[in-house]
Amino acid sequence: MKNFKSSTSVLAITVLVITTLFGCLKDKATSTFKVYKPVTEKLSVIEKRVHNTTPQSIAKISKLSVLNNRIFIVAPNKGIHIINNTDASAPVNESFIVLPGCNDIAISGNILYADCFSDLLAIDISDPSNAKVVKTIANHFPDKRYAYGYWVDSTEAIVDWAIKDTVVSQSVENSGNYVYGNGGIYYLSDIGMTASANAGSGVSTNGSMARFAIQNNYLYTVSSSTLSCVNISSPRYPIVASKLGIGWNIETIYPFKEKLFIGSQTGMSIYDVSNPTSPTFLTMFSHAKVCDPVIADSNYAYVTLHTEENTTSSPFISLMCSGGTTNELDVLDVSNIKQVKAVNQYILTQPHGLGKEGNTLIVCDGNDGLKVYDATSPANLVLKEKIALAKTYDVICLNGIAIVSTATALYQYNYSDINNVKLLSKLSF
């Protein structure tokens, strides 16, 4: 009996102690993840660093722009390669303009317009070896101030990322406990529809992947959702004339006569710019959710639709484009702008940029090479030649010469005889 009392007492005391301690017992939940902290820098400081340097090796080719005897190649987020193309059979890597945050360019006369993070810069290149910023339009691309959950001030840019392992406490309740960390973590004339913006002498010809286009003394730029019109009648002093919201996931712009052909991930839109500062929506041709550059002439528009490779550096871009499975060239009849009609579809491998001059249509079909078509009859394109090239990206067709960018080199082909396309040069990187 004594033992029973003793044992029971021990248990009772223990239970009492434990129960008392119970109030001290707390559950704990943590979330461990990497936080990407932006490293920012003042745009004014960055823009002071714009200068020429010795020719750089071209690590990653991007968008092309051609003016007179020079080819300008954008090195994404780093600057612009200047290639002297006086002799198309022997191009020379001439200079490099250091321009952080640059992804798109267009040139009018001696002024090169380029994005520098969220700013639009006018750069005097009258001496291509001594580029100078002459004008800055601040915050012209406000959406570029956002990246991976962070918005930066309009005077700053994200120049790098610092990675930090972070542990944060969170609720222990059973539910979808999203963790909200810093930065909101959680939770084309009949003469030369050269895939290109062209407006007249002294204006660059851009590739079909371009987001800048010059037309009638106006520079048009597209961001992911906005079409901006910049008056460049005084090239050194560009002035923003208008901005127009045009939907989402805008990718390319192509000017032709009084129209702008806008390529987005869900379709091709046509805007009338007979009043240059007031682009007016005319029509849209919708397609599957894919990425698409577009070119056009008086009667036809050519749109390439491609799925994005998974190797893209941006998972968001990959996710956005990954919904589509279409890889094709669409030919659309745009002679009646109010009633755009699909003329034909051509199944391709992974078409990107395209260009057309006269009746020759050239398409960069990703790893399936460069394809040269006789487009005399757009409804019945005839493949004349297929040139084996890896990772073809964009093409500019100008004066019988196709300037082709791939992942590893810049090629030039003479296609004046469509039945005998000749390689003129290869500038390897």
């Binding site: 033992n3 239970v15 943590t30 993840f33 990407y36 959680y186």
Partner: protein, 195 residues
Amino acid sequence: MKYKTFLLHGIITFVCCLFLTQHIKAQGNKKSIHFTSINSVGLLNGQISSTFAMQTINGISYKKTSIGLGVGIDNYGYRTIPVFVDLRKSFGNNEIKPLVFADFGIGYPIKTDNSPEQWSSEFSNTITKNSFCGEWGVGIEKAIGSSSFFVTASYSYKKYAYTHNIYWAYGPSGTNQARQDYHYNRIALRMGYRF
């Protein structure tokens, strides 16, 4: 995979118990060693809830010490199946004896309607982890013939962890993952029957 690991751990523990039994028998203590089964139900009381728990421990007993392999159901927080080794010792020769015990092992997550994988498609890539669980406490047991009834009070710890992709936290380098760790601290009150 999880269930294979679960099974493997169980087999290893069972084999260990078997070897121990053989070893003790070889020492000449045949009469003192016998199979023991400890079965209990109880409550797990903690910050977020009080939940029902049950377990069964089967092993061998030598004098007043026993070792066994336990398995149970733990509904606190996210449901797990704890598989553990139980060490237990009672004191004295009286009808009612105090006892102490300690458990340690691994909690195997079980998918329920409340599991992270079920929350939304964003969690479809969730991978739950087998995590540590442990318990120690005291109690008393009252002999009833060759068996006994017992009551115990103990501190019980369980960890529950999983990883999942966080799409809204992609950085420049691509996929980002988060690991969620839950540390549950509970008071366990159990009663049961040992034979």
